[in-house]
Symmetry: C2
């Protein structure tokens, strides 16, 4: 089973990396890039041979405990195939 995980900063959390990208874009002539926020994106392949529900639950835990920092980040999982 394939899945994707998006990890994004919670609303209100400052994103200095995104701000830097936006400022640099202005400096090199991009005039319409008003705001940039950077997140992470993971493509995950799950071994779900015997128990797809357990694989889904494991990915939920993996996203919450490993891929994201729940203090400042949100995560969103999409399962791409059953």
């Amino acid at each position: 089973m394939k899945a994707t995980v998006h990890v994004t900063l919670k609303p209100g959390v400052l994103d200095p990396q995104g701000q830097t990208i936006q400022q640099a874009s202005e400096a090199i002539g991009f005039t319409r890039i008003a705001e940039v926020r950077q997140g992470k994106f993971f493509e995950v392949e799950l071994s779900d041979g015997d128990d797809p529900a357990a694989a889904r639950a494991e990915l939920e835990r993996f996203a919450r405990e490993v891929l994201s920092n729940p203090v400042i980040e949100d995560y969103r999982i999409e399962f791409l195939s059953a």
Copy 2:
């Protein structure tokens, strides 16, 4: 206008960061995470007051020239609102 940009490694390009995440996940007891590939994800706000088509074209160029490395990465843009 809001848009998102996904930047992912081209198929066939090794992803040592993703491999490290996968191996670490095994080491701490996640048994069903078979493969991880890491990409980048950007949320972009465009100033498109006068000319939405120009804003879209600028984001295309920004994704191609700034956010991604076209030698090893692909990018995908989604426009979220008109």
